[in-house]
Amino acid sequence: MPSFGENELSRRDVMAGATACAALAAVPARAEGRPETAGPEQPVLAKVSLTVNGQRRELELDTRTSLLDAAREHLHLTGSKKGCDHGQCGACTMIVDGRRINSCLTLAVMHQGSEITTIEGLGQPDALHPMQAAFIKHDGYQCGYCTPGQICSGVAVLAEIKAGIPSHVTVDLNAPMQVTDAEIRERMSGNICRCGAYSNIVEAMTEVAGRPA
C-alpha cells in the first residue's frame, strides 16, 4: 500500500492511493430497501491472502480486482504487464500453483491460498533465472513490454513438455514429448510480441531446454 507520510509519491502511487481510498470509503454494499437482485451500488470489499514470490500477502480488495491488478497496483509488482487485459496477448502471464495463466482473466479473490510466481520471483538482476539470461543472450526482445510474460510462459512451457502435456502439433499423443521449434512456437502462441522477436525467443528457450540452438 502507498505511504502518504512520505514526500515523494510516484504517479502510480497517487493513482493506487486514490483507488484504495475510494474502496476503503465503501459502506456495506446494499442500501436499505434495495432488492438483493439489484446488485451492489458501491464497491464490495473482500479479504484474500496469497503467497506471492514466496511471501505471504494479505489484501483487502474490491471483488473486481484481477490478479494482475492486485500484483501491480496493490503489491507494486509491476513486472507483469497489462497489454490487452482480455487474455489475448499474454503480457500478464504468471505462474499460479505451478501453472501459467493469464492473470488479467482471473479475480484475485478466487486465489485464496494460491502460490503465485511473477517475473520478479523468477529472478532478479543479480541472480537471473536461466530463461532471463537466455533471453538477454539471444536478444529475445526489443521493446521488452511482452518479455515478462514471454519468460514466465517460456519457463512453464518447458515444464509442460517435461510433464508430457501434449500440444496441437504433437504428432503422436501417446509418445514422449519433444522440444522442437514447432512445439515451442505452438505452445507460445498465447504470447504476442509485436516487435517480432519470436525466432530469438525460440532460440533462448531451446538453449534453456538443453538442446543446441
Binding site: G39, P40, Q42, V44, G87, R99, L105, L107, G164
Partner: protein, 316 residues
C-alpha cells in the same frame, strides 16, 4: 466492470440454490470467458458464485466402460489424461486446437460448454444484437458475416458456437450431467444441450436458470481413427472458420461433427451412412437446407474439403 458480491458455496446444490435465488447471479469457474465479457459489460452479474472449491475435478471410469469427466477438470488436464489420449483422441485434439496454453490451464470442461459466441456484433455494444440485448435486432444479418453461421440460424441470430471441445463431445455422444437447487440431477444428451437460436437467441443452452453442470460422461470408446481438423485464419490461437471432428473405422464407416458453422456443434447422423462414399456425399446431406450469406458461402466448400482431408488423414 460492474460491482458484484461474491460467495464460495459448500456443495453443488448450494451453488445451484445461490444462483437460482438471484436472476442476476452467475457461476464462475475458470472465468476466462465470463470476466472478459464482464469487462466489456456484455455480462453484468451482480453476484458471483465461485464453484472452484466444489471438487468436481476428477476423471473417473464409469461402469459402462466410459469416462465421467468432472465439470471443473481443466482443459489441459482433460486433453492430457492418458485414457482420453488413447481412447478419445478426437477430444484431446479438439481441446489442444483451442485457445492458448494459459487459457487451457484455467478453462474448465463445463465452462467451455457454456462459452458464449464470438460474433463480432455480440461483442460490440454499439451494435444491435438479439443475443446480447433481446429485441434489439441483429446487425450481423446485413453486416460482415464471414465467420458466422451457414445453417440452423434464424432471422434473429446468425451467431456460431465458438468452441472445439463440444464438437468432439458431440461426435462422441457425450452426456451432460447437472444438479438443480433442490439437489435433483438430470442427464442431457450433448445433442440437446446447445440450442438453435430461433426467436430466443439469448438462450444458448437447455439448462434451466441456476442448473449447475457437474460432469460430462463419455460412452465406452468407439475405436477407429480419431481426427480433429480445424481451419482458421492463423495457425494457432484462433477460432475455427470450419472444424471437423471425425471418428473413422477401418471399413470406412464413421461419424463426423462440424464446428464453426452453426449455433451448436452440427452433426447429422443420417448422413453418416455415406461416410465410406467420401466427403461430398456426406456434406451434401449434412448441409442440406444451409442458408449461407454472400460472405460465408465459402464455408460449405471448406466443410467438404476439411472432411475430405480428415478422411484422408484417417486412411493414412
Amino acid at each position: 466492470m460492474k460491482s458484484f458480491t461474491y460467495e464460495r458455496p459448500n456443495s453443488p446444490a448450494d451453488a445451484a440454490a445461490a444462483v437460482s435465488r438471484n436472476p442476476n447471479a452467475k457461476f464462475i469457474a475458470g472465468g476466462t470467458n465470463l470476466l472478459d465479457l464482464m469487462k466489456l459489460q456484455i455480462e453484468t452479474p451482480t453476484h458471483l458464485v465461485d464453484v472452484n472449491g466444489l471438487g468436481l475435478d476428477t476423471i473417473e471410469a464409469t461402469p459402462e466402460g466410459g469416462l465421467r469427466v468432472g465439470a471443473l477438470v481443466r482443459n489441459t488436464d482433460l486433453a492430457s489424461d492418458a485414457r482420453v489420449r488413447k481412447d478419445y483422441a478426437v477430444l484431446s485434439r479438439a481441446l489442444l486446437a483451442g485457445a492458448s496454453g494459459q487459457l487451457r490451464n484455467k478453462a474448465t470442461t463445463a465452462g467451455n460448454l457454456l462459452q458464449r459466441t464470438r460474433c463480432p456484433y455480440f461483442y460490440d455494444t454499439a451494435q444491435a444484437c438479439n443475443k446480447r440485448q433481446p429485441g434489439s435486432g441483429c446487425s450481423a444479418l446485413d453486416g460482415v458475416s464471414r465467420q458466422l453461421a451457414v445453417i440452423g440460424a434464424s432471422e434473429a441470430c446468425i451467431a456460431t458456437h465458438p468452441g472445439d471441445m463440444a464438437v468432439a463431445m458431440r461426435v462422441l455422444d457425450a452426456t451432460v450431467e447437472t444438479v438443480d437447487a433442490k439437489g435433483a440431477s438430470r442427464k442431457i444428451p450433448i445433442a440437446d444441450f446447445h440450442r438453435l437460436p430461433g426467436d430466443r437467441p439469448e438462450v444458448d443452452t437447455s439448462l434451466a436458470p441456476g442448473e449447475l453442470i457437474t460432469a460430462v460422461t463419455l460412452p465406452k470408446p468407439l475405436g477407429g481413427a480419431h481426427i480433429y481438423r480445424k481451419v482458421r485464419d492463423r495457425a494457432s490461437y484462433a477460432y475455427a472458420l470450419v472444424s471437423v471432428a471425425a471418428v473413422v473405422q477401418p471399413d470406412g464407416s464413421g461419424r463426423a461433427a462440424f464446428g464453426g458453422v452453426a449455433h451448436k456443434p452440427w452433426r447429422v447422423e443420417a448422413a453418416e451412412g455415406e461416410m465410406a462414399r467420401g466427403a461430398k456425399a456426406v456434406t451434401a446431406q449434412v448441409f442440406a437446407g444451409a442458408k449461407p450469406t454472400h460472405d460465408n458461402a465459402y464455408k460449405l466448400t471448406l466443410a467438404e474439403r476439411t472432411l475430405g482431408a480428415a478422411l484422408n488423414e484417417a486412411r493414412a
